[in-house]
Symmetry: T
């Protein structure tokens, strides 16, 4: 059975209360519930985690080697500034699918580029919580090599 | 029943033979077959089209008003250069989900920014033909307002 | 009698329904009516046309040689990206007055520069449909050489 | 009766003798005469003024509140460099139409952007002294709210 | 016998009358005649075409596969702005030699970079109509693999 | 007793009526009253002045030498464009504290940099009229050398 | 009674010994003492904290919701590079006043822009330890809504 | 006898006391005395003036037409920011020699470019008060047409 | 005896398995062994540490004061993005030698500049694990003041 | 008989052994042989030279005046960096055709612009050794004025 | 007696014949004659030299130490591109005055900045051959320490 | 026995007297002595050379093929500007280690990038004369393939 780590970065713990006009009113727990339902439908295992620490994200990605077959990663604001996180994604030899709740292409200039996306296999952006479900499906297929 | 237009831009007619190390070996007909299977599963109607002409893409988007409930758009190279196409997406009052086969964040600098994405609701990039299926699901949900 | 071609680019066919908070609620037919009334007052002949195709705009400009004495051109989104259209304006040996409905100086950075304006004689921007009337008057004067 | 202030910035007092290959041979008095003839035809009142001082332009704009219904402004070289003048235009709550004699889009890079135009309602550029007449008509319409 | 498509982009149909101080007084028919004479000398077949439409240039390049052994392409103004045309050149698996009549390195900054040239095999610029003859010779050699 | 000049630049005379959603509804007289109350509490003397003229601001700064012990300066729009004003601040040998009513870091890109701030001792921005009071306190301390 | 969190970022624990020609000789304990004296005078409660970890700063800001009415934040070097910290400030729904000891406008180019300041209410920079006192006063007023 | 206006811009009235490590200890009166001695030696007439107002500099340049044969101009900080002053220099039809006391090429990036110098005939920079003498000699020669 | 801290940043724990075509096949343990052998030869003491957390790197550098005489630092991806780490290096009053395994000058543009290097004494880049040995020798000499 | 100087810049002496995957395996002697054969066919005289010294290239170009009727120049790496060489080309009053073996448009950003090409009549790039033959033919035609 | 080296860079040997509309019709020998006459009047010794080689300019500057008291340097095109020449000027401990015949501020963007001028004491530009005389006078004064 | 060429570029002959606050007081002869001592310890042969000529550096690098096994190169100011020198390093098929005496990352922006370093194997910067010794050790190891 394919195992997928769904890893969330800074400020996503505040989802639902934080700038709801941008990020919507679903909480991270709501997102997790959706992801778990989809995982059941897809027949895969998921672990769901969140941290505000860049270094902890890197540690989690490293620890995913051997323990998971693919990663869904919402790097939050670190997407745009972290070479270290980009390097972690490139380092672990697992397929990583990046997800953003809002459409980063329609926001401030410094959000348009994702350094992390350079090392990811693909991205799903602007589709809210549904984006997690779609990214999960992609991660499962990439883990199984059949796209 | 939700109706979705799947619209493809320049050079996608050559899919499968064009730079296969970048774009894979599936042809556009293969992609269409996948999209149709997914549409059946999702219970929606799809129309599938391709053109190399920027003006024709704009005409098709305009004509989608009334005829479709949502659009999946692969603007190809016009994504990066066409204000006119961006404006067409913004003009039609339909949810548009952009899709790119390759990971545009990991390619030439002039491919990193999509002007069209500014006006789209979301993007799915780098996930090959699967990206079309995921974008279709998102389009169906956006058309039905429930994400 | 002076003959003026009034040529409209991409998405202007949707005028009145497209982003009305930016472009107003007058339709292109309303604009044409205003232009025809002004033409009658100025004692000139007008032809009014629209297309979403960059190549068709170039073809129309070429065909204007001999058939018209001046051109009023709203290049829409091509204003900002098309060297080919700029070259067409420079090629035809007719005075061209560019018009934009909205104030391009107060919008996105990529709309601030008009490549086409480099080759035009002048520009009228941000004055809505009235801008077409003013541009028409300028075109008539330029055609008659008296400004 | 609509009252319009026609305000001219630096070096326009030299019009007719200054770089005539760029700005033409009409003097500022000639422009004023044209503007007054057009005002008569439009049935509006005009006051015509010129100063080389940025601060004096700001003072005049401030004083226009209550005394005029609209402004035609040729900010000359200050268009490209003055945030203070831009702010004055935004501050006074009157419609302002910017005018430039030459086509700023076809000159030095530092003339292509007008900071002042960001706060103006519209611009007429490159149409010589006729531009003042057209800007006056626009100002009268904007003052009357009917464009 | 080697078959070469000589494909011309926007505004080249006006050659000889368009900005002759930049592009010279030879017409496109004159250029075609020279190209045909050189083709005879080189012992190759040529087809000569022109269109102002970006999409049509892409269509013609696609159709060249199988029908021609090499292409001489003057993309005109699209050279500097079209990712889609660049991709078409990269897609067709034929050697393409780009040609420009004027010296693009000595003109406006936005003409200095050719996106299309990135995907072409080589370029001949600034040598007027003779450039077509030289590009043809290069195309013939590239088609025959011997440079 | 420490003497402080509170000097205000362009458009601040319109405070309270000018773009109140950005600058608030307090007038410059209200600000002066607050500053005078704080001055009384701090036991310092203040002179309060405003001008729209860049040259007059420079003249006032020069005249402050000998007459005042410190300056609170709101350079308005000149903050972002005036090397001459920056040089005046650097020239007078008095501590200058810059103040801005709105948060310049959250506005247009051309407002993010203050050239004048380079020569000032410090800045208080985005805190509305209270910012004047805080800047006054800082000026008093700087004049007395104890921070 | 208004409760204010005074939060300090990286390297501020070394204050007094670190580059004293830039940051002065007062230690962070000295700053805390000043802040506490001012808090007593203002009649507010303060908590004073420092960490070198970006993630810990974000955690502390999140935890401030409910526990504090306003925040004084010296983000140190993270001010210039952290989108994540900027997002945390925007997420918590509390007024945040940013403070910098040195005048960031007069230092290296990469220190001139504060990303965090975009989401803060205001900034006090270059006024040394006094800046904390002034920021505290502003925070208290913002918490009480009266500026 | 050749008549030369020596015109000085903002902050030059403080010469000798202002940042003496950059601008030296000679006052503007000292400079004037040197210029007058050199004028005597060269057999020309000079008028010496200073103002901090950009508009006043423009007025003086305009008034120089007919009254003087050449101008020596130290535009101070306006050199780097004023399109209006640049245009005044271009407008008056007199040879203008720009002078700067300090070496602007070795200072802050925003001092490296002089917009005014674009319209001047030449520049003398970094040579202190002697630079005025040299510029005067150049102005006299340019006025007499023999360089 | 000179004491040197050898501090390693993010992803270096994966050395040997991470992108071996870029970083080689030696593990961090191998590097440590080499460093210890060289330390023995140089007669110095070393402590070897690694962390993926930016804040932890800063904490370790702070703690090095008093405990070590010099530092060898491989900041990994933080080199290019961290003002906070740069400030930590500048804060501690110890000589720091930066080391990178790969040649950062020959990689992506965002790796070419090291902000941290601005505050370090020197850099050794592109020489693989040997670079650590050379940096150690430099650190020892800098600690002893004799280079 | 037309005389053409074929002048080669830095590193071209290593042709055939230097980065053969970029520059091919033909040596400079092979290129010379091809050029001489083509010269015979064209009925012109050629001199063939190479130097690694920028100054020597300039000296050779100067000496070409009077001795040659045209120049074929491969400036190598100096093409992208040398204003002095560009000026030499502009100084000598002879037609110069620039040639590059590789396609500079498809390489590093700093190779895309040729400063020298600004002053040359035209360029042939990316066509390997054949490019020299084509450039020679162009040079002969330009020398004879008939293109 | 003060000894001054007058050193000329690339292409200045062609003076009088090279682009005379830019550089005038005086030859370098004419310039030398003027310089020698001025030297006689100033009572100084001059040596006059020219080379097209950047390395030779550096060698000559180095050799000037001890042999000369000051240098007048026209670096030609190397002014804009040579860090090495800038370093040579900074290395020799002699006052250097840079001179350019044409007004570099009014030419191509890449001529506007002189790297060499950063290390020179001052510059005289745009004043033709007279500029050499003025630079010589400045060099003599700088050598004698009295400006 | 491994043979290493130690090649020095412009202005290094002045070492010890040139800007000693930047480059230290050791002369190039002192550096050579250190290098020779280290070479003896490492058991390799060295040749030590210096030239101010870019072309001569290229010639020496070319000549090193066959004669040496590795190169230590201090390109001085050419590091930042010379594509030709970068190409020479890439051309010769020998390992090259670049060395800079000062820390180029902490100096002027134009010194931060080394074009030459792109083609070198590694760099040692900011470590003064010791840097040559370390670079020599690296060169010896690279020549022997064991790092």
């Amino acid at each position: 059975m394919v195992r997928v780590l769904v890893l969330n970065g800074p400020n996503l713990n505040l989802l639902g209360t934080r700038e709801p006009e941008v990020y919507g009113r679903e909480t991270l727990a709501d997102v997790e519930a959706r992801v778990r339902r989809r995982a059941a439908a897809l027949g895969c295992e998921v672990e769901f985690a969140q941290t505000n620490h860049e270094g902890a994200l890197i540690d989690r990605l490293h620890a995913a080697r051997g323990a998971f077959d693919a990663v869904v990663l919402n790097p939050g604001g670190y997407a745009h500034t972290s070479v270290a996180l980009r390097d972690a994604v490139a380092s672990i030899g697992l397929p990583v699918v990046e997800v953003h709740l809002s459409n980063i292409h329609a926001r401030e200039p410094y959000r348009r580029r994702s350094l992390v996306a350079e090392a990811a296999r693909g991205c799903v952006v602007g589709l809210g919580a549904l984006g997690y479900e779609l990214a999960l499906e992609a991660a499962v297929r990439l883990a199984g090599k059949g796209m």
